[in-house]
Amino acid sequence: MGNSNTKRSDDYSSHSRRKKSKEFIDQRINYGSLVTHGIYTAQPEYDIDVVREFILKKKLSPFYKGMEDYSDNPFPSSATSTPDNLTIPSTQPYEPTLSIASSTENNDDTGSQCSKTRVSRKGSLDSSRRRSRHSSFSSMKNRRGSYKSDVDDASTSSSPITPDSHQNSLKVEPEHPLYSKEEFFKYPIECPICFLYYPRNINYTRCCDQPICTECFIQIKRTFQNPEPTCCPYCVQSNFGVTYLSPDSEEYYEQYNILVKSKEEHDPEYEKLLSQGSTPGKKRKNSISYTDPHIVSTDDIYPGWMLKYEQHQREQQRLEAMRVRNFNVQVNNNAALALLDAFFQLPIENQNSHSHSRSHPHSHSHSNTNSSSNRQHRNHTLQTFGNDLEELMLLEAIRRSLADENNNNNNNQSEEQGNLNAIEESNEVVVLNDDEHDNTSNISIRNELEEATEHIINLNLSSSNEDHTTVENTIDNATTTTSATNNNNNNNNTSTQ
């Protein structure tokens, strides 16, 4: 029942993956890429194609292989990155940036200009230069569409360059014209969710301006258990979403420089600047609305979620209806049987609550062969009391069959109910995953509870060889431990993986 539903959604997602994955070719974007690095092992539910689209549109940070340890300069470049055979006038304006932006597409004469910019950028921290930089940035952006002619212009207008410096520079920065790899990864930032270090162009939460890497961001999702809009992991504001500042933007470049400068000059303001979230130097005052077009929200990257949820709900309703129907059928059957019993006027002892409903057919046939005088007597009584009695008997039969039902299921029912309450009230079973949730019968939920408890206990037993139930002053786990031993093999498999 539940499995069929799960299967269906699996088919759905694998289908869409198959359909789209053919077209996928990874791309390098700002020294990152379009593929995750496997921090999370669960089957992804986000729409990876949508995520990639956002990365390509520079609305999400690309995927980077997070660095395990902090280093000021994780990718120190070779000495060739700042060739000293270049003479750059100290007043060099930012025009070269223009040609550098296109340098990766043109092998002629542009490499050394990369170096040139880098050198000149080092001197760019005085404000007048930064200002001039701004204007060239926007013009560069505007003219990106027509690289070729720009490059030609630039290369003809700039001074001749030696071929080997050109080669070296290209090796240093094949992908990113504005920053060398060294510059790009300098002073990385820690993602507070996965504890790995990333280049500074990380995503920031729209609400409280805290960093989060893309791999962590896409893991945060609505669940069938909690279908409400997702919350920010840091400030718990609803409608979680992030902003991203592309390193190609002027604004990013400006902030990069502020930070690098304060860091390298041992500015005591550095920590303060760092704590200013996405916009060091001018702290963002307000949260950005989740409807803002620059925001990427959870719902954006889980586009089919609501449909899946509705499907899930319909399935739940169908199962619930089926359960109610089964119950009613059973009650009706029981009532009919009880009514027949009453008709046949079985001795009252045979009708007490110990007789299981399934045994009725036997007693029925037994009584059938028993006596025909009973039947006559019954008819007589019925005629005497008329319809009132019939109604009374029906009510009594229903009442009795319900009582019977209760008796039969008494132990299971109350235990299951207790466990259900326990699930709701305790942390032991934290999140039933989709498959488990789909199993809506009480019994399977009860098993789930035991498994969760067993899991802990089992690990405990297998790892310490110490039975907690025998340790004084510890909680009596007799019931759960028993079932833990029963399922020992299963659980060992899962726990040792």
Partner: protein
């Protein structure tokens, strides 16, 4: 399956900068399973007690909360007789920004500040509401008896 860096770092930080009154030590053969000990907070009925818990980080951690349970018997309206804890951040209020440390701190706070209006152990909660003095006396008694 390799242990995620986050779990390794959390463990290292727990060891390097222990929180007063809280210890969490991973099992050598299962680094997702921790033996935890929380000291009963001062001026609470649990003062002087040392409470053992078990903590397990499921595969989905930190996207799913850790599973935590008291092993030491404790008389508390939000902890049932199986040691299960009623604490919102262990359920629907979980956030991946929480850590092992913050979870254990929250449990410590729960010991200082029981919440009988959101009970897990109904009988205890009832006692806590109707006869607080007696409830606290029982909690102290259990602490003496089981948590030494």
């Amino acid at each position: 399956m390799a242990l995620p860096k986050r779990i390794i770092k959390e463990t290292e930080r727990l060891m390097a900068e222990p929180t007063p009154g809280i210890s969490a030590v991973p099992h050598e053969d299962n680094l997702r399973y921790f033996d935890v000990e929380i000291s009963g907070p001062d001026s609470s009925p649990y003062e002087g007690g040392k409470f053992k818990l078990e903590l397990f980080l499921p595969e989905e951690y930190p996207m799913s909360p850790p599973k935590v349970r008291f092993l030491t018997k404790i008389y508390h309206p939000n902890i049932d007789k199986l040691g299960r804890i009623c604490l919102d951040i262990l359920k629907d209020k979980w956030s991946p920004a929480h850590q092992i440390r913050t979870v254990l701190l929250s449990i410590q706070v729960l010991l200082s500040d029981p919440n009988p209006d959101d009970p897990l152990a109904n009988d205890v909660a009832q006692e806590w509401k109707t006869n607080k003095e007696q409830a606290i006396a029982t909690a102290k008694e259990w602490t003496q008896k089981y948590a030494k």
